[in-house]
């Protein structure tokens, strides 16, 4: 029979409140582009600030063009990125070339700014293996399709960097949905246990396909999941490029100094559908919600901030737009000119040396492909 204790062994409500209080959202720029947290202002030159804006605008154009190219049947798999520029581009802006990036399927912009040619990004979208052939010193993997797999691999790359004594970090991204996957917990836990120089990003864009964040976890923030792994976690306004930049460079500094990994949750939104393969956001998102998040647009707020400082103008923006369009046109042309992938190409890269079965099948397909 259950006996009634005089006192509850702990205060459940208070415990939860105590956790939540530790994860207040870090913001530097508000929706009007005004600085609300001067103490956190990063030490970026005017040139760097403009470059950050340039990259975000370029990425927005790339997103718009990719969507329309997809609709014309000129691209294949594509996961829209508009709304996530501050999370993706400003976090990448705090990295060095020596740093590793292990991206999810939506994280193509970071690869591009790390040095992956646009043509290859398009070939990846078209399902051509050359799109995945990143140069070996680029320190990137191709976008991961299996959600969460990149998280635990990141712990491995980071441990490798540490063992080699390299001054670099391993950085990975997933969505709020990805933070439910077992690999997520294993990744942050392993990296914590090994004090590996890793940065784990969760781009909380509110939905995993149609599933809202509230159905993903009972935790109020995803950043607080870091607590269980014994590593620091931080919640950042993911529509605020300066806040994302500061959080990333701080995490990087500590990782390099041997202080271990950080989990960064960026609160953001994706304006488009989940992917271009038939997802219909009106099934699960209200137009009020979309309007609400449009007001937080990272481009608008950073533009206002820079304009107030006399660092940005319509003319500058148009230059970037024209440049992006030109580059995209050129890259599509190159992608079109790339010979179609053959099954025999695939056979050649399957093993270092072909076993008997593939050798036989290679001859059959060579014959087929010559017709």
């Amino acid at each position: 029979m259950a006996s009634k204790a005089k006192k509850a062994p702990f205060d459940a409500v208070k415990t939860l409140e105590h956790i939540e209080q530790q994860f207040e959202m870090v913001q530097i720029l508000n929706e009007q582009g005004e600085v609300v947290n001067e103490d956190l202002m990063p030490d970026l030159s005017d040139d760097q600030l403009q470059e950050l804006m340039r990259r975000m605008v370029y990425t927005r154009i790339l997103d718009q063009r990719s969507i329309s190219l997809n609709r014309q049947g000129r691209l294949g798999f594509y996961a829209p990125t508009a709304g996530q520029e501050a999370s993706q581009i400003a976090s990448h802006f705090a990295l060095e070339q020596a740093d590793w990036i292990l991206p999810g399927y939506r994280d193509v912009p970071q690869l591009i700014w790390h040095g992956l040619p646009l043509t290859q990004a398009f070939l990846f979208s078209r399902g051509h293996f050359k799109g995945n052939q990143a140069a070996k010193d680029l320190n990137v993997l191709s976008p991961q399709i299996i959600i969460g797999a990149q998280y635990i691999q990141t712990a491995g790359v980071a441990l490798g960097l540490k063992k080699r004594g390299k001054e670099a970090v391993a950085v990975t991204y997933t969505g709020d949905g990805g933070s439910s996957q077992g690999d997520f917990y294993e990744g942050i836990n392993f990296a914590g246990a090994f004090k590996a120089p890793a940065i784990f990003f969760v781009q909380n864009n509110q939905f995993a396909i149609s599933t809202p964040r509230e159905k993903q976890t009972a935790a109020t923030t995803i950043a607080q999941k870091a607590v269980a792994a014994g590593i620091p976690g931080i919640l950042v306004d993911g529509m605020d490029p300066l806040a994302v930049y500061v959080a990333t460079s701080d995490a990087r500094k500590r990782a390099i100094a041997g202080e271990g990994p950080t989990l960064i949750e960026t609160l953001c939104f994706r304006y488009g559908p989940h992917t271009m393969a038939g997802d219909d956001p009106t099934r699960y998102r209200s137009s009020e919600m979309e309007t609400e998040w449009e007001k937080k647009d990272p481009l608008v707020r950073f533009r206002k901030f820079l304009e107030a400082k006399g660092l940005w103008s319509e003319e500058k923006e148009n230059e970037v737009i024209e440049q992006a369009k030109e580059d995209i046109k050129q890259a599509i042309k190159e992608a079109d000119a790339t010979p179609k992938q053959k099954v025999t190409d695939l056979m050649e890269i399957m093993y270092e040396e072909m076993p008997y079965n593939l050798k036989e099948q290679y001859e059959i397909f060579k014959e087929k492909e010559s017709k």
Binding site: I146, G178, S180, I209, S210, Q341, D345, M350
Partner: protein, 325 residues
């Protein structure tokens, strides 16, 4: 009777069983409001409520473990794995837990779970969405594995799977979801698991196949007919356990056989069928039993998949080798 696509037949089967038995639960990623990424669960949450049809957090191992636990509580879970390429994330729950439930409890507990999942090539999906990974589950004793090739079969087999007390992996070929319609009775009916279907009768050659390759094989049989060959096409429908009786009876009649699968040659469903024929009917054979399969590479990125996938001309070519042996 209604004209239904395979996806509609599947929704219909789910609705039928949700109505029939309050222990049936449908869950997975995006199966609720969204009705599934292919709309297989369209409207079910509205009709049966969030208690019976619900979205889970994004974790396949979680979905599998949840199904094991709900099964122990007497429910009949019908979880969806959004694409079968993600089965690696849940293989422990399927192969090491569900499949062994009767063994581990000395027959005390059942694992009445039906795992539904789309798979199959030819629709230009990203990596690991299209792979034919059925070998992973057919090689595990304790599981039944079903792959329908028509809307009619899909409904009858899925209802039977949900009513079965053993764990069933029910694989749905994406290319067949909406490729054609068929008369499907509105009332409930079942198709016995483990029973193959002779989709076409013939006397000169037996083609044993399943899934999307049933249609390539039927097309090949038609072409071969024009050249005077009478070809029998057997749709396995359940690939574990095999319907040995139907296969052997056919081979004993035709004396020649080929096995056609979409999976790579080294993925051994076809190899298993060949071995069973050798064990049981070698003296009836007039020619070796050959296989048509995909090459032994990973499923290629979308640009090369059409060439990579076996098709009816490959079936004709192999059939002729056996017919002319």
């Amino acid at each position: 009777m209604a004209q239904m696509t395979m996806i509609q037949a599947i929704t219909d089967a789910l609705r039928t069983e949700l109505r029939n038995d309050e222990n049936v639960l449908v869950f997975g990623e995006d199966v609720g409001v969204n009705g599934g990424v292919f709309r297989a669960t369209e409207g079910l949450q509205k009709e049966f409520g969030e208690d019976r049809v619900f979205d889970t957090p994004l974790a396949e191992s979680g979905i599998g473990g949840l199904a094991v636990g709900l099964g122990l509580e007497g429910f009949r879970p019908v979880p969806e794995i959004q694409f079968f390429g993600f089965v690696f994330e849940v293989i422990d729950s399927v192969n090491a837990q569900l499949a062994r439930m009767r063994y581990r409890s000395g027959g005390v507990y059942n694992a009445p779970v039906t795992i539904r999942s789309p798979f199959g090539g030819g629709v230009h999906t990203p990596e690991l969405h299209a792979d034919s990974l059925e070998l992973l589950v057919t090689s595990q004793p304790g599981l039944k594995v079903v792959i329908p090739s028509t809307p009619y079969d899909a409904k009858g087999l899925l209802i039977a799977a949900i009513r079965d007390n053993d764990p069933v992996v029910f694989l749905e070929h994406m290319k067949l979801y909406r490729s054609f319609r068929q008369e499907v009775p509105e009332e409930e009916y079942t198709i016995e698991l483990g029973k193959a279907d002779v989709k076409r009768e013939g006397t000169d050659l037996t083609i044993v196949t399943y899934g999307a390759m049933v249609h390539e094989s039927l097309k090949a049989a038609e072409e071969l007919e024009k050249e005077g060959h009478s070809v029998e096409v057997i749709d396995l429908r359940t690939i574990q356990p095999l319907d040995i009786e139907t296969i052997i009876a056919s081979v004993e009649k035709t004396n020649r056989a080929i096995v056609v699968q979409e999976a790579q040659k080294q993925a051994g469903i076809a190899a298993n069928v060949v071995a069973e024929i050798m064990d049981r009917a070698v003296l009836s054979l007039e020619a070796p039993v050959l296989r048509v399969a995909a090459p032994d590479t990973v499923f290629p990125f979308s640009q090369a998949e059409t060439v990579w996938l076996p098709n009816y001309t490959d079936v004709i070519e192999t059939a002729k080798k056996v017919l002319n042996f």
